[in-house]
């Protein structure tokens, strides 16, 4: 009897353990099932590389290149903000901050990472956009540049937190060896510590990128929303996530427009999926390199 109970518990846990896998597979199935019907209307190549996104026109045009490029621009722009700030802050925390300063700042950064994206979007809309509009005399403050800046600030704590973890795994002996041959602290940092933590820092950057490209509320509120191929950072753009969020409510269920939004989500999912796999492979190599186990 007792043995049976033990077996039953083992089975229950085994089955429930598969929930994440089931949900992940479920997401993939739903995206394919609801997204693929759009290809009855438009060829896959025209969907991805089409330059016009007019889903509500007659006849509609479903080219998502403007949306993909917008996501790409905004993400790259955000990287210019969050990589130097995030990695720089991580190096500061790891190398320069005293023990007590670090004990305060490190948790503080983690707490700040939990500020909801809608709050960043709101702040970007109310403060950053009007400020940049006045400063640079733009026709509108809601543009790719503002979105990049807001998104970059938002991703900074995440990048900082993960990069700092990677730096703290670098064994003390590495530094001591470098000091012993006469290098100063800066030389040690640049030539020894950063290369040793390199793949960990890359993981942080890739995860930051993945977060930025999948971020919805911030870009929905500050990117401006124009679905045209961007020519400059100071034009309004419509990234993939904001197209989905903004248009889902108005697309008639079962229409080509409806299916096209799922197809965009599928493209987005595949992009973040690749990012996450790459990040995981790099971080596994990093752990093995520093002898932390695979």
């Amino acid at each position: 009897m007792a043995k049976l109970k033990e077996k039953a518990y083992r089975w229950i846990f085994t089955v429930l353990a598969f929930s994440s896998l089931i949900f992940l597979v479920g997401i993939i199935i739903v995206l394919f099932k609801e997204g693929l019907p759009v290809f009855k209307e438009v060829k896959p190549a025209d969907f991805i590389f089409g330059k016009a996104w007019y889903p509500t026109f007659d006849p509609p045009e479903f080219g998502i290149l403007p949306l993909i490029l917008a996501s790409f621009w905004v993400t790259v722009g955000a990287m210019f903000v969050c990589v130097p700030l995030g990695v720089g802050s991580a190096l500061y925390l790891n190398e320069l901050a005293g023990h007590r300063q670090r004990a305060v700042l490190k948790p503080l950064v983690e707490i700040l990472a939990s500020i909801p994206s809608v709050v960043y979007g709101f702040f970007g809309m109310m403060m950053i956009a009007p400020f940049l509009q006045n400063l640079l005399h733009l026709p509108t403050g809601l543009c790719a540049f503002t979105a990049s800046l807001t998104l970059g600030i938002m991703a900074t704590p995440t990048v900082c937190s993960i990069a700092e973890d990677a730096l703290s795994y670098v064994p003390k002996s590495f530094r001591e060896a470098s000091f012993a041959v006469g290098a100063n602290r800066w030389q040690t940092l640049v030539n020894v510590v950063i290369p040793a933590a390199g793949s960990g820092i890359s993981t942080a950057i890739i995860l930051g990128m993945s977060r930025a490209i999948g971020e919805t509320m911030t870009v929905l509120m500050v990117a401006g929303g124009a679905a045209v191929i961007p020519h400059s950072f100071f034009e309004p753009v419509r990234p993939m996530t904001s197209a989905i969020a903004a248009e889902m409510g108005e697309a008639p269920m079962g229409s080509a427009h409806y299916h096209s939004l799922f197809a965009i989500a599928l493209v987005l999912f595949l992009i973040t999926f690749v990012f996450n796999i790459v990040a995981e492979l790099i971080s596994r190599r990093f752990r093995i390199k520093l002898g932390l186990g695979g």
Binding site: K5, R10, F13, T14, L16, A17, S19, S20, L21, F23, L24, G26, V30, E34, P84, L85, G88, S89, L91, Y92, L93, E95, L96, A97, P107, V109, E110, I111, L112, S114, I115, P116, S117, V118, V119, F122, F123, M126, M127, I153, P157, R185, W186, V190, L207, E215, T216, M217, T241, A245, M248, G249, M253, F262, A265, L268, F269, T272, F273, N276
Partner: protein
């Protein structure tokens, strides 16, 4: 030699600058939302329903809606996440299957939140016919919170010393008895941290509830799990993009922003402080 010293000083100054700029931006967000939000916060704002097409009155239904959605999400993700963590830490043999589970947890954590929203819409709202409701929203948010709960629980379970398990087994306790009586009580604070962290995460999520649970304006409090609800994060977005009185609405949005910010920062501060203490105890 002197040149090296100069390079070092410049480099260190740059690093300090990075930290300062980061803290400045984050401080600015908190500062502006606090000073502008505090003006509209009153007892009435926290306890009344909205009036006059969202330009007056309070945001009580949104606060309550966020509470329901968050609790619902935890009810979904805690049992599943804890069971998954117990399997991975206590039962699992090292196999390809276990690697597959780990990989899917990592990937689920990286799925964009708007994709969860679409998934929830297709599965819960459409296929299962739950409609736009607390139930659909909670299930969607629950799946989103699953990876957070799993990794926090795993960390807590791994921190339980092996000797405790061995002592229990040596006394003749079975595997399940050991887990129930020894491992879980010891890991409880760590598991709680995970729960609190995911509450903070879920409470601020907007994209997943856009099409599964949220509504801009209702004068009624929800009466069942099949009601649609107002929610704080969605309310901020809606106030900024819909309606006809941008100025009055922006003031209310600052109020909602402040409530949400205080809520989320408080929750994650509690979680991170508990975790910090735990890590000190366990080394």
């Amino acid at each position: 030699m002197k040149k090296h010293k100069v390079t070092q000083n410049i480099g260190f100054a740059l690093l300090f600058l990075c930290m300062a700029v980061t803290l400045f931006f984050l401080g600015a967000i908190i500062y502006f939302i606090t000073i502008r939000g505090i003006k509209v916060i009153s007892w009435e704002f926290l306890t009344q329903v909205p009036r006059n097409g969202m330009t007056e009155g309070g945001v009580a239904p949104a606060i309550l809606g966020t509470f329901y959605l968050t609790m619902g999400a935890i009810l979904v993700s805690l049992p599943l996440g804890l069971a998954c963590a117990i399997y991975l830490c206590e039962y699992s043999p090292k196999s390809a299957l276990v690697n597959l589970i780990r990989m899917s947890i990592n990937n689920l954590a990286g799925v964009p939140s708007v994709v969860f929203g679409l998934f929830g819409f297709a599965v819960f709202v459409k296929y299962m016919k739950f409609g736009v409701s607390i139930l659909s929203g909670s299930l969607t948010l629950g799946i989103l919170a699953l990876p957070v709960i799993i990794s926090a629980s795993q960390e807590a379970l791994t921190a339980v010393p092996q000797s405790l398990r061995e002592a229990s087994l040596a006394l003749g306790a079975s595997k399940w008895q050991t887990i129930k009586k020894i491992v879980l009580p010891t890991a409880l604070p760590g598991i709680l941290t995970g729960v609190i962290l995911s509450i903070g995460r879920v409470a601020g999520e907007t994209a997943p509830i856009l099409f599964t649970a949220a509504t801009f304006y209702t004068r009624h409090y929800p009466d069942s799990v099949f009601s649609e609800v107002m929610a704080l994060p969605y309310h901020i977005y809606a106030l900024m993009t819909e309606g006809t009185h941008p100025d009055k609405q922006a003031a209310i949005a600052y109020g909602c922003g402040l409530i949400l910010l205080v809520l989320v920062l408080l929750i994650s501060t509690i979680a991170i402080v508990i975790r910090q203490k735990q890590r000190v105890i366990h080394g």
